[in-house]
Symmetry: C2
Subunit: 279 residues, 2 copies
């Protein structure tokens, strides 16, 4: 019997094993400086933090997240699974409390405090994460400030859930937090309904999610139009009007990486594994 | 900082990520019923047993091994990493005792008792393992008897190390135990000396080991001549007189699987990671 943490780790591994996942590193495609094995090491390194999240009476999930990111970053590729861990940590805590459901996950999110927000900010010190510039009046809350922003968090009394709420309009991971992880749970259902090897299902669900909504990581690193075009091309592939492998090659060549969509696939894999998905 | 167990698990993952490793499942080649993701789940599932091995004052390593195999087998592919775990468990215990060296590993092996042997036999109940028929006078010690053989182990007072000694002439994993893991430590040195991404180094070391000595798993499942021919072909590839990918395709087609050599690569990866190999 795999434990909750085992399933969280396996979800990270199965996500990167799914191929083709156009634009993302997978077992057949990688960048020179961001390689398949960096994701393997990232998943293993995140373990100690996931263990903290899996203790129902454990430390604040912001601390578990920071620990997971710190361990994840102990490889040469840099940021491999920051967003996936930001989804997994509250889901793991909800599972540990025997309520891995949208409402159970929202309860975990709602019970966060400024301490969790501080852990989240400290996590940015371990790894470079692509983020948007904040509005000028929120400059003191720029996540890239890391722990330097903690006094401002305290001054404003911002819990981690409130931090997520402020990013929900431009970041798909934050939106999952705020809305009760709807796309993660939807992905879990699709993963359970599809047939065939789990990595193939993951690749299919990735395409479906990408076609449904523009990837916010692409929007941040490129622009909205690019993100919308990528989603349109994913839709075309699903409709039989394009080839997934060709799309994968093209996006990798142009370094267009729909990372948020991959994060949600990882979260969906975790929920599906907890619900009994066989590998 | 990855823990000893983290490194053991990562070694299993990096081993299967290395490609091409002619005849073995890797990220680009798999069998319909033995797939890449089965190895991912096997590595994650083995974790609880590896934790027992990593406790210097933990339970007998035979028990840790049984637990690791039980967890490993919680996926649909069957036997993914039995031999690799049989190498890793004593190496992990030696590392936990701060003596990850041939002599430190031999000390662990020499300190095994009948209790360890019983754990080893019970491990065969969790998964089908290809083994040779034992000589007629040793029929009561056939590993396929699982725990039914435990009374015979006690009657003969056989420690796990003595069980390994009896198989050392025909099984390359048992030979590692008896001789102080020479090929595992040699593989670790090569992995450290080579350049480039770790999975590529693992694939290279696999070929080198295979060219050095016929794979005993091939000899058991096919015959000695086949094992020798496979090694000759690996040698040819290393000498530039053959293509590793073509050899990989051919061996997979013929279901010739040099699994013992892969096990030793996994053990070598663990030692190399413990010695600071960066991923």
């Amino acid at each position: 019997m795999r434990s909750i943490v085992d399933n969280a780790e396996l979800a990270l591994l199965l996500e990167v094993a799914g191929t083709p996942k156009p634009g993302n590193v997978d077992r057949e495609r990688e960048y020179d400086d961001l390689r398949f094995e960096h994701f393997l090491a990232g998943a293993v390194g995140a373990r100690a933090g996931l263990e903290l999240a899996a203790d129902p009476d454990g430390p604040p999930i912001g601390e578990a997240f920071e620990r997971a990111v710190e361990g994840m970053s102990d490889q040469r590729g840099g940021n491999t699974q920051f967003g996936a861990l930001l989804l997994l940590v509250p889901l793991v805590r909800a599972a540990a409390r025997d309520d891995l459901s949208p409402s159970g996950a929202r309860e975990v999110a709602e019970s966060t405090t400024v301490t969790d927000a501080a852990g989240f900010y400290r996590a940015f010190e371990h790894v470079d994460v692509s983020v948007d510039d904040p509005p000028a009046d929120l400059d003191d809350l720029d996540v890239r400030r890391g722990s330097d922003a903690v006094p401002a968090l305290h001054a404003r009394g911002l819990a981690l859930d409130a931090v997520m709420e402020r990013s929900a309009d431009r970041d798909g991971v934050a939106r999952e937090w705020v809305e009760g992880f709807p796309r993660s749970f939807h992905a879990a259902e699709r993963l359970g309904d599809l047939e065939g090897p789990v990595p193939d299902r993951a690749a299919q669900v990735f395409l479906e999610l990408l076609s449904d909504e523009p990837d916010t990581f692409v929007a941040i690193n490129h622009d909205e139009t690019t993100a919308e075009r990528v989603s349109a091309r994913a839709r075309a592939v699903l409709e039989g009007d394009g080839d997934a492998d060709a799309l994968a090659e093209d996006l990798i060549d142009r370094e267009i990486n729909p990372g948020t969509t991959a994060d949600i696939v990882a979260a969906g894999l975790f929920v599906a594994l907890e619900r009994g998905l066989d590998v």
